[in-house]
Amino acid sequence: NALMKARITITPKKSILDPQGEAVKQAIHHLDMPCVQEVRVGKYIELDIDGSDLAKTQEKLETICRDLLSNPVVEDYRLDLQA
């Protein structure tokens, strides 16, 4: 049967403090790569979905991204759905 794949990336909102991004940037500088200016660390979620109705699935996934997978108060999300 047909299979769709959804790739969701969730990143902290632009001006929210991202202590993890800061710590990873320091660590990368210690590994002598000072040219790294900014680091943002977020979540990556991959879903394998049965079916082939892209539009309906896209719409369902938008609500799930907003209500469950991300916290709209502190995070933004990007959803990419492909057959």
Partner: protein, 662 residues
């Protein structure tokens, strides 16, 4: 341009605006208006509750720093050692974002303690939510808030390495949509290590240390000097994010710096209202002025306006007044810990808080009048109509045995293991009595001429919102009595109290009457148990969709156990031991969990309390413990005698035991 709407959006009344023009002798600019609005908010100035707070007993022979003098009160515990402790609330941020709201609440109270020069030793918390049972949207929201708050507290406490050793969790629909998150921290210090927040000595440099400043917590601020477009709106996070790892190294760096008393003149943490509050309060306490330049403040984001920098509530930041000539000591210590330490200004003699931005003056306000002379309001109070009296139905709705099981399953009474097992409650190898008993007992290592010794402190936080809703005066007394009862059951005598007053909108006379009466009850009981109030917090405007929350004067009490052999826990130890009830059983079931849970009626009257009889009971229990007669001791509270007996049987770590009672 300052318009009447803008003034109103800042929560400043027309009369208050006139007071501001009187103080300045001119109209304030936008940054000054923002500064007054935050310093004269209820949260910073207690303008609606201050007259009531004066009723608390705050003196006693062990008190080294009184309530209101500094960030936290300090009480002597003997051998030249003392403890600083305080409770504070983060109710509204936790309703917006439970995880970060609760986490930053813990971070904030920890800062209040180590700013006094104390090493933080343990944390307690008191949490209240709407009912979490059932599948309604409200119940699901309450579960999400509950889970977010607990994991936020766990995240911050576990990462920073300070154990959360006890607390309480209550569920009642009066807290729907407005959870209560009260966090307590206790720290230990020697008498000579006490640090105060005074900006003394004109010319002494003012240092900003810790995290960089961003636009945290500014979503609430009514104004941006740039117009508040949709785009700029979302670069104003509605929530402050806590960085416990940063605070841990801030504690180590600060305590290392405080070991150079010659270098440090004054210290103040940046809590609510960040830079504004810390600068004007340190100046006002020392009757001095202070001058800073915002260009020198380490910033995390570009293009921040003076308004945003002064009002930002970024976390993990401290203000330190350094003795002139000792600046290098500060720079070296903070460099070792990879922390920012920037000299941003100096102490002045003119009593003015002067803020520059690249040299240009953006705010000039007399510090004393800003910090200490907020308007005081004597709100109108009127007694609400009392709740009807609960009449025990002729035929009990369920069998007693089934009622007991349902009470034990009620979330407010049921075991809180699911909560405290998420908190690291053992780090610092000091937890002698782990969560799950009446009071937490922690051992405090102290150096004495004869080598390492231990003091044993017991701590408990309590409040029964049902009682306070029925009669705030009696409910207030019972909250203190219950905390003292928990200490006595653990073998401890009370030292001091801190309280977190969680109430509704003070402009409604019934709410203000509840605040006044609760304060009077708590004050009377603290005086009676000789446990003076060392400080605390007021959180007003707590409303659920159905109206004000139950009045909740959360009381946390700290006591000392003179001999470790007296440490007592609540669970039965073995078969064959006798069970004694000390003190008489009350009669009515008004305000009881039986009435609420089994009969579904939250009705009165509030149980009576006789403080003299109460302290007699504590004295008997403590004396019996001292004579080695007692294996365990537990207090009857929610659910009464039946629940208390059941808890004694099942709350032990290993096998459970039974009990037969006539």
């Amino acid at each position: 341009m300052i318009t009447p709407e803008l003034i109103a959006k800042h929560g400043i009344t027309p009369e208050e605006y006139e007071m501001i023009r009187g103080i300045l002798g001119r109209d304030p600019n936008i940054t000054e208006l923002g500064i007054f609005s935050v310093m004269w908010s209820e949260h910073c100035s207690y303008k609606n509750s201050r007259p009531e707070l004066k009723k608390f007993p705050t003196t006693g022979e062990g008190i080294l720093v009184k309530a209101g003098e500094e960030n936290a009160g300090v009480i002597d515990i003997g051998d030249g050692y003392a403890v600083a402790f305080k409770i504070e609330s983060h109710n509204h941020p936790s309703a917006v974002e439970p995880f970060q709201g609760a986490a930053t609440g813990v971070g904030g109270i920890i800062r209040d303690i180590f700013t006094m020069g104390a090493r933080p030793i343990f944390l307690l918390n008191s949490l209240r939510f709407g009912d979490i049972r059932g599948d309604s949207v409200q119940a699901r929201t309450n579960r999400r808030l509950f889970e977010g708050v607990v994991s936020g507290i766990a995240h911050y406490g576990n990462c920073i390495g300070i154990p959360t050793v006890g607390g309480e969790v209550y569920f009642d629909n009066s807290y729907n949509g407005n959870p209560l998150v009260n966090a307590l921290c206790l720290g230990v210090l020697r008498h000579d290590q006490i640090r105060r927040g005074h900006a003394t000595g004109a010319g002494n440099p003012v240092f900003y240390v810790g995290a960089k400043t961003g636009r945290d917590g500014l979503a609430g601020a009514a104004f941006a000097s740039r117009d508040l477009t949709e785009e700029s709106k979302n670069d104003r996070p509605a929530v402050q994010v806590g960085d416990p790892f940063m605070e841990k190294i801030l504690i180590e760096a600060c305590l290392e710096l405080f070991a150079h008393p010659d270098a440090v003149v004054g210290v103040q943490d940046m809590g609510a209202a960040g830079l504004t509050c810390s600068t004007c309060e340190t100046a006002s306490r020392a009757d001095m002025g202070i001058e800073i330049d915002l260009a020198k403040v380490p910033q995390r984001e570009k293009g921040m306006t003076p308004y945003e920098t002064m009002l930002s509530e970024s976390q993990e930041r401290m203000l330190i007044i350094v003795r002139k000539g000792r600046e290098q000591v500060v720079r070296d210590i903070f460099a070792k810990w990879d922390l920012d330490a920037a000299e941003i200004g100096m102490v002045t003699e003119d009593g003015i808080m002067r803020v520059r931005d690249h040299g240009e003056i953006v705010a000039e306000i007399p510090a004393k009048r800003l910090a200490d002379e907020a308007p005081i309001y004597f709100r109108e109070a009127s007694e609400p109509t009392p709740a009807p009296n609960f009449v025990l139905p002729q035929v009990p709705p369920v069998l007693a045995s089934e009622a007991l099981l349902r009470l034990l399953a009620a979330p407010s009474i049921a075991s809180k293991r699911w909560v405290y097992e998420q908190y690291d409650h053992m780090v610092r190898v000091g937890t002698v009595v782990v969560p799950g008993s009446d009071a937490a007992v922690t051992r405090i290592p102290i150096e004495t001429p004869e080598g390492l010794k231990y003091k044993h402190l017991a701590s408990s936080v309590d409040c029964n919102g049902h009682y306070c809703a029925l009669d705030p005066y009696v409910g207030g007394k019972i909250a203190v009595a219950e905390a003292a009862r928990n200490l006595a059951c653990s073998g401890a005598r009370p030292l001091g109290t801190t309280d977190n007053l969680n109430f509704g909108n003070p402009h409604k006379p019934e709410n203000f009457w509840q605040l006044r009466r609760a304060v009077e009850g708590v004050a009377e009981a603290c005086r009676h148990f000789n446990a003076p109030v060392t400080g605390g917090n007021v959180s007003l405007y707590n409303q659920s969709p159905a109206g004000a929350i139950d009045p909740t004067p959360t009381v946390a009490m700290v006591g000392i156990i003179d001999d470790p052999a007296h440490i007592t826990t609540q669970y039965f130890k073995g078969a064959g031991d006798e069970i004694w009830l000390v003190g008489a059983l009350g009669e009515g079931l008004g305000g009881s969990h039986y009435a609420a849970e089994i009969c579904g009626r939250k009705e009165g009257p509030c149980p009576v309390i006789d403080l003299a009889a109460e302290s007699a009971v504590h004295a008997v229990v403590l004396e019996a413990i001292r004579q080695g007669l007692v294996k365990s001791a537990h207090d009857c509270s929610e659910g009464g005698l039946a629940v208390a007996l059941a808890e004694c049987c099942i709350s032990g770590p290993s096998a459970t035991v039974g009990a037969t009672v006539e």
